[in-house]
C-alpha cells in the first residue's frame, strides 16, 4: 500500500474502498456512488486505474496499490497534481483524488495525449462543480511538464 508492505484480512464481501476508508484510514480516496459510475474512488492497482468500490479485498494479494496519498513522493507534487493546483482545476475538490489518480495513469501510458484522449479517459469520472474545462486544461498542462511515474506504484 503506497509502497509499504501491508497485511490485511481479505474478504469476498468487503471492497478495497472500505478497507482504505474504514480500516487503513486512507480517506483521500472518496466514496461517490458505490457502483463504479463516478470515479471518485479510483486507485492504481499494479499501475492500472481501478474503481476501488468495485474491487473486493479477496482479489488483493501481492499487488501494488497506490492511492492519492501515494502520488506525491518526497514532498513534491507529481505533474498532474502540480497542474491541478496551478490551474485551480477543482472547486469542492471531492472528485479531485480520482481525477488526479486516473490522469496520472493516463500520462504514464500516453505522455502526450490529445484533448479527445483526455476526455475519453476521464469520461467515467464525475465532477459536479467546475464544469470539466479546467480539469482538461490541467491534464494537458501536466503532459507539458512531462509526467513521470511516481516511485512505488508498481
Amino acid at each position: 500500500m503506497n509502497g509499504q508492505p501491508t497485511r490485511v484480512t481479505r474478504s469476498p464481501e468487503r471492497s478495497l474502498l472500505e478497507l482504505l476508508r474504514f480500516e487503513l484510514n486512507l480517506v483521500g480516496t472518496k466514496y461517490g456512488c458505490g457502483e463504479g459510475e463516478c470515479g471518485a474512488c479510483t486507485v492504481l492497482i499494479d499501475g492500472n486505474p481501478m474503481r476501488s468500490c468495485q474491487v473486493h479485498t479477496s482479489e488483493l494479494d501481492g499487488v501494488h496499490v497506490v492511492t492519492v496519498e501515494g502520488l506525491a513522493t518526497g514532498g513534491s507534487l507529481n505533474p498532474v497534481q502540480r497542474a491541478f493546483v496551478e490551474l485551480g482545476a477543482f472547486q469542492c475538490g471531492f472528485c479531485t483524488p480520482g481525477m488526479v489518480v486516473r490522469a496520472t495513469a493516463l500520462l504514464r501510458r500516453n505522455p502526450h495525449p490529445s484533448e479527445s484522449e483526455v476526455r475519453e479517459e476521464l469520461e467515467g469520472n464525475v465532477c459536479r462543480c467546475c464544469g470539466y474545462a479546467r480539469i482538461l486544461s490541467a491534464v494537458l498542462r501536466a503532459s507539458e511538464f512531462g509526467a513521470r511515474t511516481p516511485p512505488g506504484d508498481g
Binding site: 486512507l26 457502483e35 469542492c92 476526455r119 459536479r128 474545462a133
Partner: protein, 705 residues
Amino acid sequence: MTLARPRRPWDRTPAGEREYFDLLGEGLVVLLPPRQPSDSNAGGWSPPTGGAWIHLGSDGKVRAFTGKVEVGQGTRTALALVVAEELRVSLRQVDLVMGDTDLCPWDMGTFGSRSMADAAPALRSVAAGAREALLDRAAARRTAERERLEAMEGTVRVRGETQGVPYGELVRNLRELVTVGPAVPVTPPQAWQQAGRPAVDPNAEEVVTGRRTYTSDVRRPGMLYGAVLHAPLYGARLSRVDLSSVEKRAGVHLVHDGEFVGVAASSPREAHAALGEVRAEWEATPQPGEPEIEQYLRTHPSTWDDWDTDENRTGDPEAALAAAAVTVEQTYRTAYIAHSPLETRSAVAEWEGSRLTVWVGTQTPFRAREHVAQALEIPLEDVRVIAPYTGSGFGGKHGGDVALAAARLARAAGRPVALDFSREEEFRYGYARPSALIDVKVGAEKDGRLTAWVFHNVNAGAAALLSPYPVPNQKVDNELSASPIPQGSYRALAAPANNFARESAIDEVAARLGIDPLLVRERNLEDARLLEVLHRAADKAGWAGRTRQPGRGYGLAVGLEKGGRVATIAEVTVASDRSLRVDRLVLAYECGAIVHPENLRSQIEGAAVMALGGALFEAVHFEGGRILNPRFSMYRVPRFSDLPRVEVLMVDRKDLPSAGAGETPMIAVAPALANAIFDATGIRLRSLPLLSEGKVPTTESSSGR
C-alpha cells in the same frame, strides 16, 4: 483543525464575556455586531447577517470568523482575500474559521449568493478596524504622528521607510477587544492591491494530495458507523416494527424512538446488515406519478418550508393583451432534478457528558444546531455544529437531519457515530428542485415593444419571478404546491425555471414578428448593466455575423438576479438523427467589483455545465412516492463528453458593490439552448429537460419527461 470549545457558543454570549484570548491567545480582537443588511443591490431578498470578528495574535497570525461555510464555491479564499487586502497582509497569513456554531457569528446559511454581499463587507469592516487599531497603537508607542504611519506587508511603518514594526509585536501582551461599526473606512476597489487580482488558493495542495478532511473523512476515537431506516415511499408512516433479530446481534447499538429507527455498529457494512434485519410495516399515502404531475401541482396548492410567494400588478394587462398586435400564450414546464453533490450527506456526532459536537455537511450550521437542540430537547448552548469542508451542496444540503440522526445514535452508543448516506439514499431522502409549470401571456407591438406581461408560476418559487423587462402592464405571481417527492432549495432557486419561461417567451415573440432576438431585447430592456453583458456576449459570439446553415442554430438569453447580470449565447448543431451537439456557450457576467477573478471564472464555467445538465437531460423519475432512478447509472449528470466550448467574459465594475456569482451565471443557459434548438430546427421546446432519450423531440408533446 478544530479549535477548543468555549464555555458557551460565542454568538449566545455577550461580547465582553467571550474567551477570545484564552482560546486564541493574546492579541487584538475586532468585532462588528450583527445587523440587518440594507443592500438593495441584492434583488430584494435580504436575510439578517451576523457580523464578524477577527483575532490578530502576537504570532502575527490572523484568524477571521464567519458563519458561512465552504462547499466548494471558493468563498474561503475570496473572503480571506478581502481580509488580507484590508489588513495589508499576505493571503497565507489569514486563516478563516467558518461554519463553527461555537466560535462563529450567527449566520442564516450559505445560500442565495449572500457570501460576497453580506459576509465580505462584514469581514472587510473588522479587518479595516484592526488595521486602524494597529496604527493607533503604533502611533502611541512610537510617538510618531499617526498621519505619517502606514500599514504595509504585515507591519506598521513610517511612510517612505522600508522597516516597520510587525503586527505581532504591536499586539504583544495585549488582550484588547475593539468594536467597530459598518462605517469604518475601507479600501475602495480601485485601490485594491490583492483583491481583484489573480490569487492561488493557499490550501490547494491538500486537495490534490488527498489530505483535506471532508465531513465524511472525520474520524474520532472509538467511532462507530450508523445506518437509519427510511420510509420506502414518500409520506409513508411506520405502523409496526419488529426489532427482535437486530436486538440479538452482538456489537450493534439500536435506537427506536417514535418514527426513528437506527443502528450503530463497528463498520458501515455491519450497520447496514443489522438494519436489514428490521421488519417494518408502513402505511403509505397515495402519490401521483409523472403522467399526473401537472394536474396534481395545479390542484394541490400548499405552503412549504419558508418559501415566499409574490404577487405584483401594474397597469391593465388584460386590456393590453386584448389590444396587442401580437400575443404569445404558452405554458413552460420543468422536471424535478437532483443536486447530486459528489459527497453524500454525512455527519459525525460525539457527546461529552451532556454536550454534543456534530460535524455535518450542511449549508446551514446554525439552523442545524437549532434543529438538533429542539429535537433532542437540550439547550442550544450544549450543541456545537461544525461544517467542515463539504463535497458540494448546490442548495441540497440545508438543514441537519443527518446531524440529528447521528446524535441520537451516538447518545445511545455512548461513543462517536458517523452516518454517511449512500448515493441511493442521497437521491431518495434528500430533496429535489421542484417540478414547475409556468403560464405566460405576452402582448407586443409590431416593432417588438412589449405591452402586456402575465406570468403565473406554479411550484417553481419566487426567485427571478419579476421581469427585468419594464412592461407597462403586468401581472406576475406564483403559488406553491404539495409534492409527490421531497422538494426544496437548489442553486439559484427558481431563477432557472422562471428565466427559462421568460426568455423562451420573449424569443417566441421575436419569432412571431420576424425580429432578431437581440433586437427585441434591446427594444425592451432599460437596465444598462444588463444591456452591456448582452452586447459583450453578442460581440464575442459573433451574433451579428452568424450565418444560416442547415441544422445549426444560435440562441440568446439574459438574466438578472441576486445583483448579477448574465447574458448567454448558445450555438448548437442538430444532426439528421436529431442528436444534439452543443458547440459553444458564451457567457458574459457582471457582479460589481470582482474580488477573486479566477474563482469567479471557475464559478461561471461550472454553473454553465451544471445548468446544461438540467436544461438538456436531467430528470428525477418517480411513481407512487418512489424515486425510480436513484443512482448515477440511472440519473445522468454532465460528463466530459457533454462539455462544449465555454467562453466566459467577466465585466469588472469597480464602482459597484460586489454581488455573488454562485447562482446567476446558470440562469440563462436553458433558454439560450431552447432558443438555439428552435433556431436550428423550427421546433419550440417548452419543457425541461429539452431532450428526450438524448434526442431533440419532434413535437413538444413528446419532449422532456
